[in-house]
């Protein structure tokens, strides 16, 4: 048994043993969980994928005379006008329907890159905010605050997508060719944060993480947090389960780990880089982080035909480039970047090894016993 304080003492003195989740999974072929728990202090996990439920809060500062911004556009994209006078939230999927290939995700990336963004806003004019219109250029230098707040990131075990129809389907899981000519998966497998701590023993409110190149925090359980999915023999949920809400200073982020994107005939989104450190407090945690790709099973969903479940597969099979679905050989490809996820896990590892990044004990654990409600259409 180790405590957070003991692990942090080792980190501060440069004695902490840190491995990436892939390294520890390889080590587990030789060593038992007990031996790993004694040898290793922290395991770093990571993912870099499109996470549509992302966005940023911005504060523009007050002009003279001041305006209560009620309708706000950034580079011609309508963003939230529902936050006081000069605050907004730009969501990754915000866009102008007239030109849907550019949107909130791109605006956030441009802000991170230090570019200027055109702000235009309108208000009705009030006694305390007499102005009705303003145009200005803003950047991360001029904004008071700019922080990313993503309500739902790092989905635990997202579905594998394929398409049985005879039409190409353009989705957030990429281009799905007709008649199951391909299948797409979007998880870092054995490197994925919530696969390595499947019941959120270490990941909770206040967990310090790597977020898009700087430090960030787990702010809350993510939306659609489903903690009662069936699990397989290795304790991993076999359908999309838990999620995290994350927060971090946009001004200190890097476009190496944050990218605005557009999916054909779907819309814009944001690629988000997240790294989560898992402390090996005991043998049980060591056992969890030892999970290997062949032990992670995911659900195959038909995105062409009403999200029908077509079967199950595992991540060793997905990475081999081919799976079998209903007796048919189906070519597989990832749609989130394993190369980038590995880069993030390695950077977080180096931060911890150098004593620059301490672990935090959750101030509140994640909820248990939750599931998902659909939207019932009640007459009104």
């Amino acid at each position: 048994m180790k405590t957070y304080a003991e692990i942090n003492d080792k980190i501060k003195s440069g004695r902490a043993v840190v491995l990436t989740a892939e390294e520890v999974s390889a080590m587990a072929k030789e060593l038992s969980p007990g031996e790993i728990a004694r040898k290793v202090d922290v395991v770093t996990t990571a993912t870099f994928g499109a996470m549509c439920s992302s966005g940023a809060f911005l504060n523009f500062g007050h002009a003279t005379p001041p305006i209560r911004m009620e309708r706000i556009e950034l580079n011609g994209v309508r963003v939230s006008g529902g936050l006081a006078a000069v605050d907004t939230y730009v969501g990754a999927t915000d866009c102008n329907p007239e030109r849907p290939a550019y949107g909130g995700g791109h605006i956030i990336e441009e802000l991170v890159a230090g570019k200027e963004i055109q702000l235009e806003a309108w208000g009705k004019g009030t006694d305390c905010y007499p102005r009705t219109h303003i145009r200005a250029r803003v950047s991360k230098e001029t904004l008071n605050e700019a922080y990313l707040y993503n309500p739902r990131n790092a989905y635990q075990n997202y579905n594998v997508a394929t398409n049985t129809t005879d039409q190409v389907k353009y989705t957030y899981m990429g281009t799905l060719l007709p008649k199951m000519r391909n299948a797409a998966y979007s998880t870092a497998g054995e490197l994925s944060p919530l696969i390595n701590d499947p019941e959120c023993r270490a990941i909770g409110l206040g967990t310090r993480i790597f977020l898009c190149g700087t430090e960030g925090y787990v702010a809350w359980n993510g939306t659609q947090f489903h903690s009662t999915r069936p699990t397989n023999a290795h304790g991993v949920p076999t359908a999309p389960g838990r999620t995290i809400a994350v927060i971090g200073d946009l001004k200190r982020m890097s476009t190496d780990f944050l990218r605005g994107v557009y999916y054909e005939k779907y819309g814009t989104s944001l690629f988000v880089g997240i790294g989560v450190p898992i402390p090996l407090l005991d043998e049980e945690m060591a056992h969890r982080v030892s999970i290997r790709n062949e032990q992670i099973e995911s659900t195959i969903i038909d995105y062409g035909d009403g999200n029908k479940v077509l079967g199950m597969t595992n991540h060793a099979a997905l990475r081999s480039g081919e799976i079998i679905v209903n007796g048919q050989r189906v070519r597989t490809a990832p749609v989130s970047s394993l190369a980038k996820a590995r880069e993030i896990a390695a950077i977080l590892k180096s931060w911890i090894e150098r004593g620059e990044f301490l672990l935090t004990e959750p101030v509140r654990p994640m909820p248990t016993g939750t599931s998902l409600r659909g939207l019932e259409e009640k007459e009104c």
Binding site: T175, A184, F271, S336
Partner: protein, 137 residues
Amino acid sequence: MIKKLVLSFPVDATDRPLVYDLIRVHDVSINILKAEIQPGKTGSLLAEFEADEAKINEAIAYLNDNGVLVSPVSSKVSYDQERCIDCGNCVSACFSRALTIGAPDWKLRLDPERCIACKLCLKACPLKLFKIEFADM
């Protein structure tokens, strides 16, 4: 041998049935992968030529004599490697397996020889990093 070629037709393309002549006179087996030809405008054809090398060269000379530019397709596909994040979205769409990603480094690879210029990668790339010159001609 098989050669994948882009044929660029001028506006005033000859009335001769060029492809017919290639097959009948020059004995080249032709597999047309993509054709963009509109009357009165420049056109382009992506095709695989199968024959021995001498015959393919004769066929290319014949096309050149008739004002058709012939270039190997391999020079036509490209993406911005600097901005690429190796996500795999293009690989997923690429059924001809010109684009691949996998162990050990999971970085994107492009084999231009396998590209059939279907343009799916242009749409599939969420960063819009692909260019196929054939598509712009």
